[in-house]
Symmetry: C2
Subunit: 343 residues, 2 copies
């Protein structure tokens, strides 16, 4: 109704036009719109009303150039060795969703990129030096550990999801993958499993640590348990056929599978079902991540819990501190075994 009564006036192009209309200077308009207290309450309200009436909003690009604050955080998924892995991988997406919520709550916009280091060795430099971002969040280290290290040495507002290595420079938030892998294997061994297949591509740092942890547990147990590694693709398309093949060629004595992610575990569950192998009776199965969907599978997936929401909050908190000039240590979260039905 009100739209019919007051036909919208011509759209204002910039602060100067609004200033002319209001009979004040551009500076005053800028201050009024930013709710600065230095401006007379009456004129401020008048200008704000005028802006609202004309649907005027200051150009953010200009404002951000001028202030040097972009209000934008880059969220980047580096896909080095796992090029086929899609940005829509559920773990990435879950973390991304949490990051988006946390950043938006803090008033930041989020710029999403997928980087292919293989095509472009300077992927990270290009992003951090774009001048468009107040800070950068990396989802995963991929196989770019050293590259990240060297950029982090000079670009401070950078926080990475991933694994911590002794003496590393860059601020990382993540779960202790080694401990998680160990937990998984310990559980399987305690159940009586002695021949464990590991499904995961160990070129990724986190995955490699999970396998290492599992191997350590096997060693420590003194049971002679063996762990066979299978390099499972991360792309959804290839993953299924590869799991099928691995299931067929693996040692028939294998009595447990430790999947490096819940996604792999779910695909494995399905393939086992198709082969008529009961989980956990014929084959125990443990996943990793504890994505929400793992409670929906039949049987429910036993898995290693990572606190993704907490991790996202930690990443954002560290990044904002770094944007403010502080230095922040890495955050290593403790994984937790969640026993459900699959093992």
């Amino acid at each position: 109704m009100s739209q019919d009564r007051e036909p919208r006036p011509r759209r204002l192009r910039n602060i100067a036009e609004l200033a002319k209309l209001a009979g004040v200077s551009a500076g005053t308009v800028s201050r009024a719109l930013a709710d600065k207290s230095l401006v007379n309450r009456e004129t401020r309200e008048r200008i704000q009303a005028l802006a609202r009436e004309h649907g005027f909003r200051p150009n953010q690009m200009a404002s951000r150039l001028r202030t040097g604050q972009t209000g934008v955080v880059g969220v980047v998924i580096p896909l080095g060795h796992e090029q086929k892995q899609h940005i829509s991988d559920p773990f990435f997406m879950t973390l991304l969703g949490q990051l988006a919520d946390a950043l938006i709550d803090r008033g930041y916009d989020l710029m999403l990129s997928r980087a292919l280091p293989v095509d472009n060795a300077e992927w990270l430099e290009r992003i951090v030096d774009s001048g468009m971002l107040d800070g950068v969040l990396l989802i995963g280290q991929s196989d770019q550990f050293h590259n990240i290290e060297s950029v982090a040495a000079r670009y401070r507002p950078l926080v990475v999801w991933g694994t911590h290595r002794e003496g590393q420079q860059h601020c990382v938030v993540g779960t202790d993958s080694f401990a998680g892998g160990r937990l998984a294997a310990q559980h399987l061994i305690a159940r009586g499993c002695r021949r464990i297949a590991f499904f995961g591509d160990t070129r990724g740092l986190e995955i490699e640590r999970r396998l290492a942890g599992a191997r350590a547990a096997a060693e420590e147990s003194g049971t002679g348990t063996r762990i066979d590694g299978f390099a499972t693709h991360l792309s959804a398309e290839e993953m299924v056929s590869q799991i099928a093949a691995d299931l067929d060629r693996m040692d028939p004595a294998t009595d447990a599978i430790f999947a490096a992610s819940d996604l792999i575990a779910m695909a494995t569950l399905r393939q086992l079902h198709e082969r008529g192998r009961k989980v956990p009776k014929d084959m125990a199965l443990v996943g990793f991540d504890d994505l929400p969907m793992t409670e929906q599978t039949v049987p429910k997936l036993t898995t290693i819990h990572q606190d993704i929401a907490g991790g996202a909050r930690a990443m954002v908190a560290s990044l904002l501190a770094r944007i403010a000039g502080e230095d922040t240590p890495s955050t290593i979260m403790v994984p937790r075994l969640v026993v459900r039905e699959s093992a």
Copy 2:
């Protein structure tokens, strides 16, 4: 090694500094870095080498302000009635992943926002008038149809995922939800089901059309099939308990469930399993979306396929055309029934 040999010179702050270093003017540097042909090949290469050596990259904020092209597309998820629904909803995420891939391939960055229209009636105006974006993609119409219409009337580079209504202004890409709902119900009725529960919150336009289509199929069948609507929450947390409650209070004669999304279907599958009800023997179940994960469930989910990847490409293609000043019609994709095991 090379890093040890040549200690990095002090970082250049802007084009002017590089210009001084190269003994040319800022204009020439700008042209050289943009690979403009007007600049002498030799000087161009010299400047580019210098830039590389110093790790210099022009400030994008300034460049974009000057040219008026931001190279950024906004991707926004409006959460009107479904406020609790998280940005990490798998359908959103799948579509978002595809959009990200398509946009990045075309050289655009992607700015992600979650909008809460309830808190802020001007959510969309604020976004399109921010001056930060060349165009905007909306994932879903939520309950904001009229709001979107009025903004679309003046802001052209806007493409929306959702449902098409007769005579609407805004460019939409989506699946014919009515046809999809009808397909689902037809399939269930053909299987002999006569009492169908619909799980979904019909305040969303697409969901409402799916139910309407199902009701139309029931009507047309002349079988006296009834369809009972249950308003299922979209937030993962509440969804499960609500489905459980609905399952317990629904008419005992109910022999089929049509879930408005695969996510709802998967949660329903799990709840049915817990109640010892076999799918599809005791209860037939059809989902909607055909997300990749629906092939991993046990039993595999029968669902209505939406071409999410194709839809994402269509959205991006339409948006780029609109950014270029063209006008584009809406794209309504035809849904397809995918019969697997659950019905």
